[in-house]
């Protein structure tokens, strides 16, 4: 962890503008931001809420790995990955990724790499709660 990488897992709401402000710099020409939001439906069923759980110490470690790998692969300036835990409702923000760079291609590539990899490796789980039941996403064949 250093001052070009900001990783956080928190039960508190994420603050988009503060995340962007952290990454902005007069050294940068472009910032790419990915904001995940809770959809009110999945596969045609209404989603009442999501419940996120994390293996926090390992999740922070894996998120830090992603940020370090992105910094090594692309000429980026700063990268921030914040993920929320607990109960979230449609429209809420579970994840924010911000990448600043001198040139936009690196920011786009690194940001997309970060969210794609987060979804594959970071030990965070979500349960979708519907009107008539609930399911842990991706758990079953």
């Amino acid at each position: 962890m250093n001052n070009t990488i900001d990783i956080k897992i928190s039960a508190a709401p994420l603050h988009t503008q503060a995340c962007i402000d952290w990454a902005m710099s007069p050294h940068c020409g472009g910032i790419d931001v990915f904001i995940g939001t809770v959809r009110n439906a999945t596969k045609g069923k209404n989603v009442i809420r999501l419940e996120f759980e994390a293996y926090e110490s390992m999740a922070v470690r894996e998120m830090t790995k992603i940020a370090a790998a992105a910094s090594a692969k692309w000429p980026i300036h700063k990268i921030l990955i914040h993920h929320r835990t607990g109960v979230l409702y449609p429209g809420d923000i579970p994840v924010i990724i911000v990448v600043s760079a001198a040139h936009r291609d690196a920011a786009f590539d690194a940001c997309r790499y970060a969210i794609d990899t987060l979804k594959q490796t970071v030990p965070i789980w979500k349960k979708e709660v519907f009107e008539d039941g609930e399911v842990w996403v991706a758990a079953h064949p």
Binding site: Y55, M58, L118, K119, T121, P123, I124, W125, A138, A139
Partner: protein
């Protein structure tokens, strides 16, 4: 040796606990742990897959387990 195994998400529900303790022989590997877990908690065989983390890192089948390691069952992740 007695090994404490952390459970998260659906595994915590399957095991009804946030951690369980299993007995392993000294020098056991992750593949032996997996067999013991599947026998004692057959529900986890219903998962599409799962990994074992040792001290916060993904392991492979032949990773050795030592007394005092922090062990966790990692069902398919779904963050973001």
């Amino acid at each position: 040796m007695e090994i404490k195994v952390l459970a998260f998400g659906i595994v915590k529900e399957m095991l009804s606990h946030s951690s369980v303790t299993v007995a392993l022989t000294e020098g056991a590997t992750v593949s032996e742990l997996t067999l013991v877990l599947a026998e004692k908690y057959p529900a986890i065989k219903n998962l599409s897959s799962f990994a074992i983390a040792i001290n916060g890192c993904y392991s492979t089948a032949d990773t050795l387990i030592n007394a005092g390691d922090e062990i966790a069952i990692i069902p398919p992740v779904s963050g973001g």
